[in-house]
């Protein structure tokens, strides 16, 4: 009999306690934010989409070799004597035409391992994280600044240069 009444008391008092808690939460400011309008402040060293500053890239392929998932593809063409490719911002001379610099963000695991080996600090993480696509091919970002014609031209020029050198060698012999 005693248990019966203590049960009733227990039930009512615990319900009341719970109701007090939920009522208190009714007036607590909500923790959700209205995402596209309001955004959270990203941490200082957040890792998101990569960006490559092609003006500084010397085509050394170190980032591609550091990548654990092989998402960076770099193709380069040697410059011929007389070409002036300019200097990078930290004073390194560029010697290669970077004809292809593709990053497949579908593969990328955002580990930032490619960022550290870069001698010119031209590959780095940005704060862009909204770049979903319907087509997976669109996630392959091409950073090379050269146009198709320019690439073909660079290749042909190098070939011509080699051929000339070969011819020179043969002529001298």
């Amino acid at each position: 009999m005693k248990e019966y009444f203590s049960n009733i008391f227990n039930a009512l008092s615990t319900v009341w306690t719970g109701m007090k808690i939920t009522f208190k939460h009714l007036f607590i400011p909500s923790v959700t934010i209205q995402y596209p309008e309001v955004r959270l402040q990203l941490p200082e060293r957040e890792r998101n989409r990569l960006y490559v500053n092609m003006d500084d890239c010397i085509g050394c392929d170190q980032c591609a070799r550091a990548c654990p998932v092989n998402c960076i593809t770099i193709e380069t063409v040697k410059s011929i004597p007389g070409d002036d490719l300019g200097k990078t911002s930290n004073g390194k001379k560029k010697a290669l035409w970077v004809t292809r610099f593709d990053i497949d963000f579908a593969k990328c695991c955002y580990c930032q391992l490619c960022v550290f080996p870069c001698p010119t600090e031209c590959i780095y993480m940005t704060d862009v994280y909204e770049f979903s696509e319907f087509d997976r091919d669109k996630l392959i970002y091409e950073f090379s600044t050269l146009t198709k014609e320019e690439k073909r031209e660079k290749l042909e020029r190098l070939d011509r240069h080699y051929n000339e050198r070969e011819a020179d060698k043969l002529g001298r012999m």
């Binding site: 009733i8 009512l12 719970g18 109701m19 939920t22 939460h25 009714l26 909500s30």
Partner: protein
């Protein structure tokens, strides 16, 4: 009475009867369901430190309308092995059951669907249709979850009808009337005339009655909460166990019918509790209309008070819903048969003794 007014206006008893029957639906149930669904989402969201719907209109006020438009567009799926006839009748029956309860509920002193002497009796009897509809829905769905949910719902509603009726009985004994209109009229004046505070008895009897009326109020509130299948008594729908109980197989407008019936039921139950215990449409501190001599203002104020009381009780239902976890089936039966029914019996006897003092 509103019927006479419309009868004089149109001159056709049939037409005016139809209009009077439609009024609560279009004037009250549909807008209430719209607001209540929105409120439910907002209240639940803020209780969980969320924001809830925020996109459609200012703070999502048009969300329910968007949902209804979506529901209307949806395909009406009837599975191959469903019992088509019962499957189609069930949502209508559930809605009719909860809608018919509004016939005897007095919204104001001039607006009551049917002024019958057995008002509360009619409500209790006619809401039995809801049970039949739910069982029909569960059976016709030909789905184990639906059937389980329907069986649980029936067991639950039938067990919790007993404490409800016992408390109603104690009030009927106390006031001597089953007519909700008379019941509300008896609680006129100020809030200490409400049945919760002992009704129209002498001061001594009032003081004796108050604790027992409070017990009765809590019991009828709990049992009616269980009758409308809401958390913590939502085991018929128990989404973590039974998908969504008896309306698992329903889609589109038929699902909307169940949904509307649920919200109509919520209000009907709150309105009955308000009419029985909280003075129905009566204002707790007199009317502004009487004070400034504008007689026409009184029914509007009454309607307002009625809505406030009903919606207030609905809000408490929501509050409970987002506070308490669901009961187990055996706990549910224990609450009803071992606690509510004996207590309401004792309560009934004590109230009877006090009233014949």
């Amino acid at each position: 009475m509103i019927y006479d007014v419309i009868n004089n206006l149109t001159g056709s008893p049939v037409l005016s009867a139809v209009i009077v029957a439609m009024l609560p639906l279009f004037l009250f149930i549909l807008p209430f369901a719209l607001v209540a669904v929105y409120l439910e989402r907002k209240v639940s969201a803020h209780m969980q430190d969320r924001l809830g719907p925020m996109r459609v209109g200012y703070h999502g006020v048009l969300q329910t309308i968007a949902d209804i438009i979506k529901l209307i567009q949806k395909e009406d799926i009837i599975a191959k092995d469903n019992d088509k006839l019962l499957f189609n009748i069930a949502p209508v029956l559930v809605f009719v059951g909860s809608y018919a309860a509004f016939a005897a509920i007095p919204f104001t002193s001039i607006f009551i669907g049917a002024q019958i002497d057995l008002g509360i009796f009619l409500i209790i009897a006619v809401t039995g249709l809801v049970v039949a509809g739910i069982l029909m829905a569960g059976w016709a769905s030909n789905n184990k979850y639906s059937l389980l949910g329907a069986m649980r719902a029936v067991a639950q509603i039938i067990s919790y009808e007993i404490p409800t009726i016992l408390v109603v009985l104690s009030l009927v004994m106390m006031t001597g009337s089953m007519n909700l209109y008379t019941l509300s009229e008896m609680q006129t004046g100020y809030f200490w005339n409400w049945n919760l505070f002992g009704g129209n008895y002498d001061i001594l009897q009032k003081l004796l009655l108050i604790p027992f009326m409070l017990i009765g109020f809590i019991i009828i509130y709990i049992s009616t909460l269980a009758e409308v299948n809401r958390t913590p008594f939502d085991i018929p729908e128990a989404e973590s166990e039974l998908v969504s109980g008896f309306h698992t197989e329903y889609s589109g407008m038929k699902f909307a019918m169940f949904f509307l019936a649920e919200y109509a039921n919520m209000f009907a139950v709150s309105a009955i509790v308000a009419a029985l215990f909280l003075g129905g449409y009566q204002s707790p501190f007199g009317y502004l209309g009487n004070l400034i001599g504008a007689e026409w203002l009184v029914p509007i104020e009454q309607f307002l008070w009625f809505t406030i009381k009903g919606v207030g009780l609905v809000l408490v239902q929501m509050w409970l819903r987002w506070t308490l976890p669901r009961l187990r089936v055996d706990q549910l039966m224990t609450v009803s048969w071992k606690y509510l029914i004996p207590i309401s019996f004792v309560n009934l006897i004590i109230i009877g003794l006090i009233t014949i003092l």
